[in-house]
Symmetry: none
Subunit: 230 residues, 4 copies
DNA sequence: AATGAATGAGAATTCATTCAT
DNA sequence: AATGAATGAATTCTCATTCAT
């Protein structure tokens, strides 16, 4: 059975087009246009969730026609969503990894700095919202789940694991820390939940950022510290 | 001899008209029907997220006509969603609160038991998925956000705060524990994240439940324990 | 990645519907509605070809909403097209086969009657047009090609082959007729081409029906007749 | 690190701006470009039918930009279609007419040769497909219908009529042949149907070419032959 | 209480065409 | 001569909801 929908009637009349004024037709190089489209997509998805977001809404935010969006993302909404998510998450890890790479002081302080950075990053509601969307959508998209597992969770855990390992070696952290397989996941979990709560409940109702950061750092550092009797 | 003569034609074997004896038209009392509808709704929302779920899908799962669903939930999809979520979350808290009420041993053990209960609850993917949906939807529904803030987060933290307070009083936990406003939130965060990861990534790729529970309990109990020098 | 498009925004407002008057909402039993839909589809496809036809056009012709069409043909345009085609072709064969079954005279006359019936059937431009659409679409739809091969071509040739065979047996037709594998196809071809021309060119420009029928019958009967020297 | 940074980005390896040295931008003279465009159009139309074919598809097949196609065919898809069809049909008639012009033997043999030529021509699926498209589209394009009536059907019939007339004069064909207005149409019809079946059903399922040709020639030559009693 | 035929707004996507470069 | 970014109308299809039965 023929597939392509095909819009126009074959021959009849044929006027359909002509004299359409171009209201704002701004021609941009793809390198310039792409970030604008992604920014619009982030805002739209953040506001309406995945299924509720509309391509038309994204296009309108970006000030372009719907067609252009399809031109840039032939994979449709799906592809747009993935690309938008990637574009949000990338910079967070770049910051965290460069912080870790450039840090030379004691591991206690490094861990404290990484935790603080996590809470300090929770500023932009839009990016936060998009980040949280992964949780709702990954269950339906194996591809997204894989992306999260590999590009987010594994990346964060491996960063943290290295800190823990070197801290144990230097005697700053308890020797049995390394024996717990999911310690890194437990340690970052409150940061992520903090993001989620902040996004869900807004600044006024969510647990205060500074207080969470303080309690989090305290619990973790005390929990990892070697005891005298140890 | 069209292949599919009409739309779903479940049974209409009968003659031209008359005798509308509908074999599957099962008349149920509202008290019996309601739970069936909610169960179907939970499954549908879990599978398709809020916006992607369809009323027809829920009705089909429940084995009823669309009309009946609208009859039971005149507020439409929105109302159905809220009711379904409430029906999922209720039992979790009932269990946690009854556990807390009946516990008489040391606070350390009670905290450990509560943490373990949290991980033990993460069994049903469907309920888990619905639980995670709140994160994605609350941003758009103030009512849902309020529900979460009051019926979930506040309820959980107040439960935990009581444990911490009495533990400090009994000398089991560090004296400065109570000074940290968000300690309870930090403590439950890994449990919730554990649910989320499990839901997102599935049993095979998510951090192992037992390992997380073990690391979590260890970190928390050590982090709260009074030090010799304290 | 989530699949369902999902239309509405989750919670906001929620007025969307209500007070929509029903202008003409006529409830019909599927057995009554279906033929109306098919008739409309035949007309639309005949006028616009497959790709050019629109579901909205069919719905409008039938005086129903677009939704109902999708309700009856969940397979979409594809399914509608196939069903419409079947509904057009069925009666032609029923007529031909009942004519053949009830005919008891000499095979010459039976053959002449069948040819005449073919030309006599070419009355309805719409059905004719739909019939011709198979030619254009079968190349892209193996399923349609199979349908044509089995339900149309094979059925017609087997009908004709039987006439030829019995005619040879009775001595009315040349003994070597049966030796030509595609004689039946060659014999019906002008009838089909006649339909095509009539559909393409209209009554005024197409070869005259009566003349074609006359020339066709003459050529075939003379071509099959045993010669004296045979 | 988006997977697909922008839309097709053929080569733009260069720096931000400047140096628009396009490697593939091949400048061709119109006489050279035109046949390439038409060949691409034939392939695209053959594969997707009229309404289903896309200008972008044609441009891509030809390896040019969409703009150039519009430049060559300002009349749009309609014009492109007509031109492509003409370019396909032209050579067939040139061959048939030159065959007829150069033939000097008996009319029987000439007729047999013309029939054989028709079947011999049915080799290229693409051209065949385009040829069959006329049937589907002519109903909607009076211009196309006129083209077919005059440039195809009339041309073929007049060629054949001449053969029949001279054959009657030479005594090779029955005297009453000329009295039948549509004899020529009836005679060529099986050839055209053979093309259509071949195109629709493919080589494997369509009636065998050689068998049809043989049966066709036999029926026609016997049908036209004067009988002893004539 | 229960059904499902019917609706129509709105979603994604495609496409011929224009025009700045 | 040639390109491809940009447009926006048109198309298919979905879906929450209503209401006659």
């Amino acid at each position: 059975m023929p597939a392509k929908p095909g819009p126009a009637r074959p021959d009849s009349g044929g006027t359909a087009t002509a004299e359409r004024a171009s209201p704002s037709r701004q021609r941009l190089a793809p390198e310039e246009r792409l970030p604008l489209l992604l920014e619009a997509a982030v805002a739209e998805f953040a506001e309406h969730s995945y299924a509720g977001a509309s391509m038309a809404g994204v296009a309108a935010r970006a000030g372009v026609g719907k067609g252009l969006l399809c031109h840039y993302f032939p994979g449709g909404k799906t592809e747009l969503f993935k690309t938008a998510i990637r574009s949000c998450i990338q910079p967070i890890f770049e910051e965290a990894e460069s912080l870790a790479a450039g840090f030379s002081g004691p591991r206690r302080e490094m861990l404290r700095a990484l935790i603080a950075m996590g809470y300090g990053r929770m500023m932009d509601r839009k990016e936060l919202a998009l980040f949280c969307l992964i949780f709702a959508e990954a269950g339906r998209s194996p591809e997204l789940a894989d992306f999260y597992a590999e590009e987010v969770l594994a990346r964060a855990t491996s960063l943290l694991d290295k800190v823990l390992r070197t801290g144990v070696e230097s005697g700053e952290f308890r020797a049995d820390t390394a024996g717990h397989a999911c310690m890194a996941q437990v340690i970052i979990a409150p940061t992520i939940m903090g993001s989620i709560w902040r996004m869900m409940l807004g600044e006024s109702k969510a647990p205060a950022l500074a207080a969470m950061c303080e309690a989090h750092a305290r619990l973790v550092l005390q929990g990892l510290a070697p005891t005298v009797t140890d």
